[in-house]
């Protein structure tokens, strides 16, 4: 043991002497190299955080095996109950991407990819938190993705219905929106109640859930929608009626397996 200790000290002294003899320039360069290596390790062990929203979004695209898509814009979500406060919208030609994230923690995100419904695609922001129980107010952003650059104004009619605790709700929402960014129109549906949201909250929640892809329960839900697009002169350039279905609903419809 003592000999081992002596050998170790001897070895250490040799290392120290050798290090003393190394020119200062070489020492500094070795330190810089070590700093680069340590920084890389730190970055890896910290989970390789992204530095910008776009960088994080591009990584999420790859992780979800979708895209690359053109980023259309970002919408601020004002729902106090939601985990996410921003919605980034993108279009890859075949489908649209709704990317929910937190502005103060960009690593916290949820990406939803939906195939296009044709020339226009109607979807709500697929927030996970759009449950209405115990809430007095709910706001659901609705998006109409379009490929009609001449259109500057859009009208959307949505027929929502739901039954909750014996309460029947059926309403046709007529909404209007002006173009702010190319690629989509943004609408918003707000509902409020003096005590607690009932069937209307359920209907809006269903719209948001159907727009995402985690709710296979909504396989039979088909929400009718009509979109009308108008150009600057006020002339109608496009009109279409369609159904908003869940991913499961679309798949079963395509295979003719719906109940």
């Amino acid at each position: 043991m003592r000999r081992l200790k002596e050998k170790w000290f001897c070895f250490w002294r040799r290392i120290e002497k050798a290090w003393r003899d190394v020119p200062r320039k070489v020492k500094a360069l070795l330190n810089v190299l070590a700093i680069i290596l340590a920084s890389f390790l730190l970055y890896v062990f910290s989970g390789c955080p992204a530095f910008t929203v776009e960088e994080q979004y591009r990584r999420a695209e790859k992780a979800n095996l979708v895209g690359p898509a053109e980023i259309l814009g970002t919408v601020e979500l004002k729902d106090a109950y939601s985990v996410y406060d921003r919605l980034l919208l993108a279009d890859d030609g075949e489908g649209v991407i709704m990317y929910l994230y937190r502005a103060d923690d960009i690593s916290n995100y949820r990406l939803v990819y939906r195939e296009k419904m044709g020339e226009v695609t109607v979807l709500a922001a697929p927030s996970n938190d759009v449950f209405w129980w115990g809430r007095k107010e709910i706001e659901v952003p609705v998006l109409v993705f379009d490929s009609c650059p001449a259109a500057v104004r859009a009208e959307l009619e949505l027929e929502l219905g739901c039954e909750f605790n014996g309460e029947e709700f059926q309403k046709t929402y007529s909404l209007e929106s002006y173009r702010e960014k190319q690629g989509y129109f943004l609408f918003s549906i707000r509902a409020s109640a003096s005590y607690e949201l009932g069937a209307e909250g359920c209907a809006l929640s269903t719209l948001a859930q159907v727009s995402g892809h985690d709710f296979a329960l909504h396989v039979e839900t088909a929400i009718p929608a009509t979109v009308r697009l108008y150009d600057e002169a006020g002339a109608k350039v496009y009109e279409k009626s369609l159904y908003i279905r869940s991913v499961a609903g679309e798949a079963h419809e395509a295979r003719g397996d719906a109940e």
Partner: protein
Amino acid sequence: MDNYEFEYWCNVAVRCIKYRPDRQEVKKELYEHLEDRYDSYLAQGMKPEEAQDKAMQSMGSPEAIAPQLAAIHRPFWGYLLDVSKWVLAGLTCVTVIAMLRYRSQLFISEPMYPSYNPYTDTYYQEENYACRRIMYDEPDCTAYSDGYTFTLSRVAWWREFDESEAEQGDDDYFFFQIEVTNPRPWAEYENMSRWFRAEDSLGNYYYNGNESAYSYDLEVNGNFYRTGLFTYTQDMWFRNFSSQDAEWIDLHYDRAGRDIVLRIGLTGGGEK
């Protein structure tokens, strides 16, 4: 240093050297030179004060030497060494903390099988029923997309028996594993096992986990977990497995313009 004249001379000579350790070192060296000369003049028989003046004169004017010494001893590498030492020490501490905090990035997760490991066990018995593995294979079928490599590494087909050991062909369970690797440490991976659908040689269609809605739907589903710094494993299975007579099942990921196909052969595997 007890000769104040020499020390003053040295201080003037090194005052332009910016890097303090260099300044001290050069000062010490100059002082030693002065002392050597002083000693040699004393040995030649000079008086101490005379020898001191002569030693300083022989070294030249300290004001003239100062800029020359500063030009030789530039401070850049010294400062770089000092700063890099502290930065490296700090960074090492932070890296160790990060390693401890984010050790989940390093350590491998264990798969969670309900009662038996379908790939290593061959038989499992409970009170009312027993299961036997009837096929095991390592197909090593590979596909690539978006920088990820998908490898179908293991498949296992299990059949349930009743108490009398009679086969019940409709209670079959089919498990398979897909290894997903990406050499970029910053590459993330989501649970794509819920987006794989399947079709067998008989035309049976298995919905993917996000599309399947009814209890009678044939379905592909799975979990995923990290199994290494660059590897994820998708532990997958078929629900309502109905391909007993099929030759193969093709797994498809055909969303967003991708076309990942992995084929599971059902006729090989030895144990069947």
